[in-house]
């Protein structure tokens, strides 16, 4: 299956009555760590469920590893792991037994299932507690078991639906780190959905933005953030005259506290800032190039976003 597209959808549409969850989605993705972002109800979960065969599309088609999900589901699913957004664990079972059972349902022989279970639970950070009923687990531990059952059969593609759901900030960090390492170190492809851009940015190298069931963007993360450098300029005294002066010179400028943020679209700003500081007799404390986060990009500057991906 190497060298082939990971995923391809053509005019993929899903309606629930009068509600359209996916609206003619055309998407092609290469293997990698892919973030799927969009507001709640944008169609992220629906897309993942169609890929898994849990939902049938109303029209259109979807392929994973070049195979049609409508007709080759069982074959495909041997190589796919899925971590749902919702609770899905039988809490009266012991974690090892449950994960080993799930490995067998993915097609692994009994012995291999047990070995892989031990390795995978260790990988996600469950040790002695894996011999206990899951009833007493914290949310973080349950999320780890959910990830483990998705990984235990060594899939080529991991579909993670909001994997940090319900976690506290520390648990969130650990889960994101774990997902990132799982993807990079073991060479698995991952499609991870989130409504938080910041999470996607930390973990993924490709971003897919869906809104109201339609594809808004699909591009490497670097292309969103790389080309829109921002210079943060700190001066002694009042920053307002400087920002006015730079804006008059045709630059995109924004003030943030006592900082002046300047969009770095070419080399011009450096000279302009220097000249302006001299003319205005301002003391320059520092000029720093910032890598703008995706979240800032989308929240604050829609025109910058368009420039970034144009």
């Amino acid at each position: 299956m190497g060298g082939m597209e990971l995923l391809e959808t053509r005019a993929l549409t899903k309606r629930y009555g009068s509600v359209i969850a996916l609206d003619g989605l055309d998407l092609v993705l290469e293997p990698g760590i892919i973030g799927l972002v969009g507001a709640n109800g944008a169609g992220k979960s629906t897309l993942l469920k169609i890929l898994l065969g849990l939902l049938a599309p109303t029209s259109g088609e979807a392929r994973l590893f070049g195979l049609d999900v409508a007709t080759r589901g069982v074959e495909i699913r041997q190589y796919v792991g899925y971590m749902p957004e919702h609770d899905c664990l039988p809490l009266d079972m012991v974690a090892t037994e449950f994960v080993a059972h799930m490995a067998q349902v993915s097609g692994l022989p009994r012995g291999a299932a047990r070995e892989r279970t031990a390795e995978t639970l260790r990988h996600v950070g469950l040790f002695e507690e894996r011999y206990r009923e899951m009833r007493g687990y914290s949310t973080g531990m349950k999320q780890r078991v959910k990830l483990a059952q998705a990984l235990v059969h060594d899939p080529r593609l991991l579909l993670l639906d909001e994997p940090t759901n319900g976690l506290d900030p520390a648990g969130r960090d650990e889960m994101l780190d774990l997902v990132r390492r799982t993807g990079t170190e073991f060479g698995l492809s991952i499609i991870m959905s989130s409504h938080l851009l910041g999470e996607i940015e930390r973990v993924c190298d490709h971003l897919v933005v869906i809104e109201e069931g339609r594809l808004m963007r699909s591009a490497p993360i670097a292309s969103f953030t790389g080309r829109t450098g921002v210079l943060a300029v700190e001066v002694e005294g009042d920053a307002a005259p400087l920002s006015r002066r730079l804006r008059d010179a045709g630059l995109h400028v924004r003030e943030e506290g006592h900082l002046v943020l300047v969009a770095l679209e070419d080399e011009r700003p450096y000279d302009l800032i220097r000249d302006a500081a001299v003319d205005l007799n301002l003391g320059l404390v520092r000029i720093e190039q910032r890598r703008q986060s995706l979240e800032e990009l989308f929240r604050d500057a829609p025109e910058a976003r368009d420039a970034a991906v144009a």
Partner: protein
């Protein structure tokens, strides 16, 4: 390999390897669901409370056979108190209760825990899952049907004076024993599964199965005695009785109501087969439509 200690609370990595071994696919996946469900039917791998009801019902269903065996062993004469074809009359209530207790465990639990998403995103189809569950309950119920029937037959063979003589005269019973046990188990299981699968709530499922047997028995009797003898075909235990008599090619006892109605034995069997087919269709439909 020594591991470097990490900060407490962080995630340790002791190495993750790729799996290069066999992937056995759909049949293996179905087998895994079947065996897991068979274990779950008797509460194996679960806390002790989960074992009490199914194991108690199994023991109760076996009790008449063991009792007869004990009496026969203690006496010198050949004792044949309970006929093979009559055994189902003793255990029919237990079979219904077993279905009411175990079917919700097998088809309601994964709905309740929302584990279906994990099953249906693996190497099997929804129908595979449903049929594996049905096969597991049928197999479990064989412990209550084929088990005591076998005890009776083997007991009768060896407690008499002439084991070979008994076998020579009665070997034709063997296909009837196996056939009736399989048939009854499959029918009772599929009916219980069809009803229990309709809800994730355990209490409702159990109540539903029991209510079905009670209500249809009463309605069947009433209809049969007022509107006509074919009404008896609504009453599940009477149909079960008619079908098992037919399988053993035996006549009802003198005082039995089923003798009065005088319907052909094959008709009872056909009704049961129809009930099993409809129930299985309902079960499959339920799992085809459930959101996962």
């Amino acid at each position: 390999m020594p591991q470097s200690p990490e900060v407490a609370g962080s995630i340790y990595d002791l190495g993750y390897r790729h799996y290069e071994g066999a992937r056995l696919g759909r049949r293996h996946a179905v087998g895994a669901v079947y065996f897991q469900s068979l274990r779950a039917a008797f509460g194996l791998g679960r806390r002790p409370a989960a074992k009490i009801v199914p194991i108690a019902l199994t023991l109760l269903a076996t009790l008449p056979a063991v009792t007869q065996l004990g009496i026969a062993a203690a006496s010198t004469r050949e004792i044949d108190v309970i006929k093979l074809e009559d055994y189902y009359v003793y255990i029919q209530i237990l079979l219904a209760l077993f279905g009411a207790a175990v079917a919700p465990e097998l088809v309601g639990r994964d709905q309740r825990n929302r584990t279906l998403s994990l099953y249906f995103s693996r190497a099997l189809e929804r129908s595979d899952y449903a049929l594996a569950k049905l096969a597991a309950l049928t197999t479990a119920m064989l412990m209550l049907t084929l088990g005591p029937e076998t005890i009776l037959f083997v007991g009768n063979t060896f407690t008499g004076d002439d084991a070979f003589g008994y076998l020579r005269d009665n070997w034709t019973q063997v296909p009837s024993i196996v056939g009736s046990a399989l048939f009854v188990s499959a029918v009772m299981s599929s009916v219980a599964m069809a009803i229990a699968s309709q809800t994730p709530r355990r209490a409702y499922a159990t109540g539903g199965v029991i209510a079905f047997f009670v209500i249809s028995s009463v309605v069947g009797d009433v209809v049969a005695s007022t509107a006509g003898r074919y009404g008896i075909l609504i009453s599940p235990f009477d149909v079960l009785r008619g079908a098992t008599l037919w399988i053993f090619n035996a006549a009802p006892n003198a005082d039995e109501s089923i003798g009065r109605y005088d319907l052909p034995g094959a008709l009872y069997a056909a009704v049961l087969a129809g009930a099993a087919a409809v129930s299985t269709a309902i079960l499959l439909r339920r799992f085809a439509r459930l959101a996962a």
